[in-house]
């Protein structure tokens, strides 16, 4: 088992417009990417669970030619709204870092 953060080149989050948040999990090595993709551990359901959402609210993609996994969720609050604490959405990825990959 490895943690996702030990396998990825970059895990990041960012606004995709003011109303959505998107996560990119990017790899350097095709074999490592395939291991994560095929592990069954990094899925729409896994992301939904980490952010307390029903899976249907998560957009989820395997991007083979970019060696990347991508997920997008509705922002918990619109960007810059009164209680929003992360205007660029840049620090919302930490819950993904310790997903265990077989």
């Amino acid at each position: 088992m490895s943690k996702l953060a030990e396998l990825a080149r970059l895990i990041r989050s960012k606004n995709a417009g003011p109303f959505e948040l998107t996560f990119d999990i990017m790899f350097d090595d095709a074999a490592v990417y395939r291991r994560v993709r095929d592990s069954g551990a990094l899925t729409r359901e896994a992301v939904a669970a980490r952010y307390g959402l029903p899976p249907a609210e998560v957009k989820f993609f395997y991007c083979d030619n970019a060696l990347a996994v991508k997920a997008s969720i509705p922002r918990p609050l619109p960007q810059g709204d009164l209680r929003d604490g992360d205007g660029h959405g840049g620090q919302q990825y930490a819950p993904l870092m310790d997903i265990e990959i077989p």
């Binding site: 003011p18 991007c63 922002r75 660029h88």
Partner: protein
């Protein structure tokens, strides 16, 4: 024409680029220069207040180099989303900078200004006709939202840029634009495949962001041909790889394969990326699916109120271990003191208090999966938003005094519970705004929301001419 060469000097005007890269790019004889000058990324305040996110001298430096370069080669310069949010105030601000440069450099050119700020009566009419549709997720949007909004802009497609060029413009300064629309129009007009034009535009709009080894914001070029395009950064030290170019479609997009534009959808599911050498990548197979109905996305900001922010920190482990309860008690005391001071003149519903506890969950709020506090100190940011700055400031003063001496059972006697790094202990933030719309309009045509003004600029004189 078997190739169109496009130069994007940087991802956002005002963020800079390297002058030697720009000169190298000009040596490739680009057919036009395009630059995105805005985004919603800095937040709703720029649209709401009519201010730009990048400093004036920084925008002027970038614009000066682009304008001189474009005039030297006699090629069009297309700028979209002027002044960050692309409303009339932002367009006017950027136009002021452009005029200053024209005067200082004795430049002459035909200029098109394209407005993107939306008339409220027009929006109400389209809303009434059922031609304003929500995206997902979308806030409530009705006539009252339109009336409350400080500014609403439409995000223009490629067509208004092309109309400006057809009217003879050398320089197009446009309000809010789809980032890609700045770059995609001309290649399509010259007969290149829409799929390639839009995909190249998607990469270009971020400048050199798609390279492997990004050093600073810098120039990017695309060479669109019959059945493929090549992307390459003019700085020979910057490398593009098939992976870096493919990965760029992930950035700030909810969907990495399908990207919605006014006139259709960019479809990257069949895109192929191949290395030309260690600097350049060949892209092919990208498609564009025309939409049945042309749509224009709206962005709007409304004023929420005026804000003051108190900042203080806590080091006492007794307070830290009961922080949630302590904050609840503090909130109660603040409300009680406000009621005492203002009476019926200020109801609880007239102002908004918000507590951010850094060291606990300040960054992620309710989404924070770590529930126990592992830090030996906490930072408290307490915000108040009220109908007037004077009221927000006064309440921030109340917050400070109530927080400073709020007792805990472990100590007897007067305590001072908060460390204040600033004096005064709060900061007045002025008006604050929120995004109030995530909808599209279905206009009759791509132009009705984007009126154009044509001017001829010659040094220090600007004459308006009819299109």
């Amino acid at each position: 024409m078997d190739e169109i060469r496009i130069l994007s000097p940087t991802g956002v005007m005002g963020s800079g680029f390297v002058e030697t890269s720009f000169e190298r790019a000009l040596a490739h004889s680009p057919h036009f220069i395009g630059c995105d000058a805005g985004s919603t990324d800095p937040g709703p305040g720029h649209l709401g207040a009519g201010h730009a996110a990048f400093p004036r001298p920084a925008v002027k430096r970038d614009l000066r180099l682009m304008l001189i370069g474009a005039r030297r080669l006699g090629i069009p310069l297309l700028i979209g989303s002027a002044g960050t949010a692309g409303a009339d105030a932002h367009l006017e601000w950027t136009f002021g900078i452009l005029r200053e440069i024209a005067r200082e450099e004795s430049l002459s050119f035909r200029l098109a200004l394209i407005h993107a700020e939306q008339d409220k009566a027009y929006l109400k009419r389209r809303l009434g006709e059922g031609r304003v549709k929500p995206l997902h997720p979308a806030p409530q949007f009705d006539e009252r939202t339109i009336e409350r909004a400080e500014r609403i802009v439409g995000m223009m497609g490629a067509e208004p840029f092309l109309r400006a060029l057809e009217a003879g413009a050398d320089v197009v300064l446009a309000g809010r634009s789809s980032d890609t629309a700045i770059f995609a129009g001309l290649p399509m007009q010259r007969g290149f495949a829409p799929g390639l034009a839009w995909h190249a535009a998607k990469i270009l709009e971020c400048g050199a962001a798609a390279v492997v080894n990004r050093k600073t914001p810098d120039c990017m070029m695309a060479f669109i041909r019959d059945d493929h395009f090549i992307v390459q950064a003019p700085d020979p030290e910057l490398r593009c790889t098939p992976q870096s170019i493919a990965a760029h479609s992930l950035y700030e997009n909810a969907d990495p394969f399908l990207i919605k534009e006014c006139s259709g959808t960019i479809d990257l599911t069949a895109s192929r990326y191949e290395a030309v050498d260690e600097h350049a990548v060949r892209v092919s197979g990208s498609r564009f699916i025309p939409a049945d109905i042309y749509t224009v996305k709206l962005e709007g900001a409304e004023k929420v109120g005026y804000q003051s922010v108190f900042i203080g920190s806590i080091r006492d482990p007794f307070i830290i271990r009961q922080i949630d309860d302590w904050v609840t008690r503090l909130e109660g005391r603040i409300h009680a003191r406000i009621a005492q001071v203002y009476g019926a003149a200020l109801k609880t519903s007239d102002y908004h208090l918000h507590f951010r506890i850094y060291g606990k969950n300040g960054t992620m709020g309710p989404l924070e999966p770590v529930k126990e506090i592992r830090s030996h100190e906490l930072c408290l940011i307490i915000e108040v938003t009220a109908p007037a700055q004077e009221t927000a400031s006064a309440i921030a003063g109340i917050i400070r005094h109530q927080g400073l001496h709020l007792p805990i059972p472990e100590w007897s006697g007067l305590i001072t519970a908060l460390a204040c790094p600033y004096n005064p202990a709060h900061l007045d933030r002025g008006a604050v705004y929120r995004f109030c719309v995530n909808h599209v309009v279905e206009p009759d045509d791509p132009y009705e929301m984007f009126p154009m003004q044509l001017c001829s600029v010659a040094g220090d004189t600007v004459r308006e001419c009819s299109p």
